[in-house]
Symmetry: C2
Subunit: 247 residues, 2 copies
């Protein structure tokens, strides 16, 4: 019943959706990209620091999704988001298991990043359900991409495993489905969420930047970070575009 009315709205919305050109790739693929991938890998922190930050962020995404479930406008939305919450929780537990496998105490390791990441969440969760869902979609998408890029610099017994855990994206389409339905039902929402998305990407960039291990050579670090962040922002723009929102 809910599904039908939701689907109806989505179909209406798709028809009205403004046509957009594909976002042009900012740089050609190929050797230059491989070179850049090596660059940011040099800035990876210690494995336990990397894992703790990524794991605690996933726990925050889970808490945000749980709040979205608790405040969802329909049981159908609850049900969809509960699937997404299960996937995010599995990412968190996967990263925690990696810490345990290495002999680290996960709670102790994560405690160092709790204040910053809790503060980020509290400042950016938004003022209603749609803004909260956009948070779950955009910040998780951005930081998953970021941590996957950074994982290339980790030892070979951790990096690929962490990238695989973080790359498990099956729950995301449930969030997109709910966001599209919400946008379709509220004419003013798209412009408000477009503004909110710009705010979110700015704050999320700061979180990513603080997770990088500085080498001490600021100019050199910046020249490595900049092209990677340009790519991450392009991916963010594609996420906004998938919702019909102006990035």
């Amino acid at each position: 019943m809910c599904r039908v009315s939701y689907a109806g709205h989505v179909i209406t919305w798709v028809g009205r959706r403004p046509q957009r050109a594909d976002i042009p790739r900012l740089k050609p693929r190929g050797e230059s990209r491989a070179a850049r991938r090596v660059d940011i890998a040099d800035l990876v922190p210690e494995p336990v620091t990397y894992l703790a930050q990524a794991a605690y962020f996933q726990l925050g995404v889970f808490e945000s999704l749980a709040l979205a479930i608790a405040t969802a406008p329909s049981i159908h939305a609850k049900e969809n988001l509960s699937t997404a919450a299960g996937r995010v929780l599995a990412k968190h537990h996967g990263l925690v298991a990696e810490m345990k496998r290495r002999g680290n105490d996960p709670a102790e390791a994560m405690a160092s990043f709790a204040r910053q990441l809790d503060g980020f969440r509290q400042a950016t969760l938004g003022s209603d359900w749609a803004e909260l869902l956009l948070w779950c979609f955009l910040t998780a998408g951005f930081l998953d991409d970021f941590f996957i890029r950074l994982s290339a610099g980790l030892p070979s017994d951790i990096g690929p495993r962490a990238a695989q855990i973080l790359g498990e994206d099956e729950g995301t389409h449930m969030i997109v489905t709910e966001l599209r339905a919400a946008i379709a039902m509220d004419q003013g929402l798209a412009s408000r969420l477009a503004l909110w998305g710009r705010r979110l990407v700015g704050d999320t960039l700061l979180v990513a930047r603080s997770a990088i291990h500085a080498t001490g050579d600021l100019a050199s670090d910046e020249s490595r970070i900049e092209p990677v962040f340009t790519e991450l922002i392009a991916a963010h723009t594609r996420r906004m575009d998938s919702l019909g929102l102006t990035a």
Copy 2:
């Protein structure tokens, strides 16, 4: 760090714990128990009704645990409860999968029970973290037991599967660990939680009673229900006892 100080408190508490006699079994095991098991099985509702109520209740337990994670006093507690939340979410998804397998629309089926179960949760979640955790332990324990007993009356392709899903109890000890730690750290908490547990079992009984399909013969129904509820209350008393609380 947290773990050590928690464990220290638990050890202290175990030493001070008042000695209790085992709760005596109210009825001897044996044939009379098998007879009673058949009795309540006669009162099972339609499979979709059963599955929807049990699944929506698990979703509510998940939401309560997620709230307990969000308000947990330490990252170690968050981490323990996140494991419990994952298990409860798996129960919910297992029951939802059973509904889908039977061709039911889970969201539609669950909608019929949302108001009552949401009202039950809102009225009984408690006023602080410890009362919330006690809710998660006691109401989930009671209603899991109840739905497992009731499952004996379902068709053979559903009943055993539902009982297996609901019987997966691995996350519960994490909740007990956190409750014991909280009780050990706050001298007045045990007597407050003892009162709260009495309130909870009363309201939970009403939820269980409303999930039973009445046959129309009130006296006959009561005579079947009463011994089962006596057993469920005895199990509740053992749960309270495991926390050192007077039931």
